[in-house]
């Protein structure tokens, strides 16, 4: 008897739950809205792809320019070194004959020292250190 009552209660609860928990119906414009969102997202993804492509092109161009600049610098250095050698060859005999043999060493050493100090001072890290130490003044 008790078992039957429990069964009846179970069945009643089952029926009541079936009534209370009806499957929800999909909103009418669900699919249309989803499609709109997909279109929007795909447009934004396309835009992103275009921007990414542009960025990659810019990167490639900058890399090519940087390589070109390095070659240019190397050639400038070689040219400068040979030009300096040629000038030294031409000028040194004149310096030696007018100011003595000692000056034919002094002038190149002075010019080389000047160049090294100038490049050293031009280094941003050294400039920062000098600025911090107050070398350039307030």
């Amino acid at each position: 008897m008790e078992l039957n009552a429990a069964d009846s209660a179970d069945r009643a609860l089952h029926r009541a739950l079936r009534e209370a928990l009806r499957p929800p119906v999909l909103p009418t414009d669900f699919r249309a809205q989803l499609r709109r969102q997909l279109v929007m997202q795909s447009a934004s993804m396309q835009q992103q792809a275009v921007l990414q492509q542009e960025w990659q092109c810019t990167q490639a161009r900058l890399r090519a320019e940087s390589v070109q600049l390095r070659w240019q610098t190397l050639l400038w250095l070689l040219g400068g070194a040979f030009a300096a050698g040629a000038v030294t060859m031409a000028v040194m005999p004149w310096v030696a004959s007018h100011y003595g043999a000692r000056w034919s060493y002094g002038v190149p050493v002075a010019v080389a020292t000047l160049g090294l100090v100038a490049s050293w001072v031009g280094d941003p890290r050294v400039r920062r250190l000098l600025a911090q130490s107050g070398f350039f003044g307030a």
Partner: protein, 189 residues
């Protein structure tokens, strides 16, 4: 998971791979949009919130479909994504859940005149006051045509676990209804 469902899943994947995107999308939505929405409703309770999360989930599923590796069934993969989305949504809104807790607390109150209450609404409220472990199987069971295997698939757990939780949930429901003075089963006929 029936043979038809497997065939449909294979068709969706094949259409997507062939670049027939529109057909693949229609097939995917025909097959899963209502199920995804019902799963979201079961998790989140709120209709518009569930709609938002279902849409996000379906977008995520559509975008991720080319990367689907087929190690699990497509449906398993889809329901995992939906469950994760729902759990993330729930975590992000947990701080705002004080209102819902208050609503749940109403379900524990004594009902003065049982004949005057809207039985279905009240029962739904009592169901929603159950812990998720019991609430989800019960809600999904009735949402999914009373199929234990469908509930197990949606929740990603064995059928035995679903059956156990369903039985415990019913016991808990009866206890709560008794506590509210609604234990007389004739009320529910």
């Amino acid at each position: 998971m029936t043979v038809d469902a497997h065939t449909d899943d294979a068709a969706i994947l094949a259409l997507r791979a062939q670049g027939r995107l529109d057909e693949a999308l229609v097939r995917l939505l025909d097959q899963y949009e209502a199920r995804v929405y019902r799963l979201c409703r079961a998790f989140l309770r709120d209709a518009s919130w569930a709609e938002d999360v279902a849409q996000q989930s379906l977008i995520r599923i559509w975008k991720g479909l080319p990367g689907f590796d087929g190690r699990a069934a497509l449906s398993t993969w889809i329901y995992t994504i939906v469950r994760n989305r729902c759990n993330t949504a729930l975590r992000s809104r947990r701080v705002d859940s004080a209102g819902e807790d208050a609503l749940d607390a109403c379900a524990d109150a004594q009902v003065a005149d049982p004949s005057a209450v809207d039985a279905a609404a009240l029962l739904a409220r009592v169901v929603h006051s159950l812990p998720d472990k019991y609430r989800l199987p019960v809600v999904l069971y009735y949402f999914e045509e009373e199929s234990v295997s469908a509930v197990a698939e949606r929740l990603g757990c064995p059928e035995g676990t679903v059956k156990t939780n369903l039985s415990r949930a019913r016991r808990e429901l009866r206890a709560r209804l008794n506590a509210m003075g609604l234990g007389d089963w004739t009320l529910w006929n």
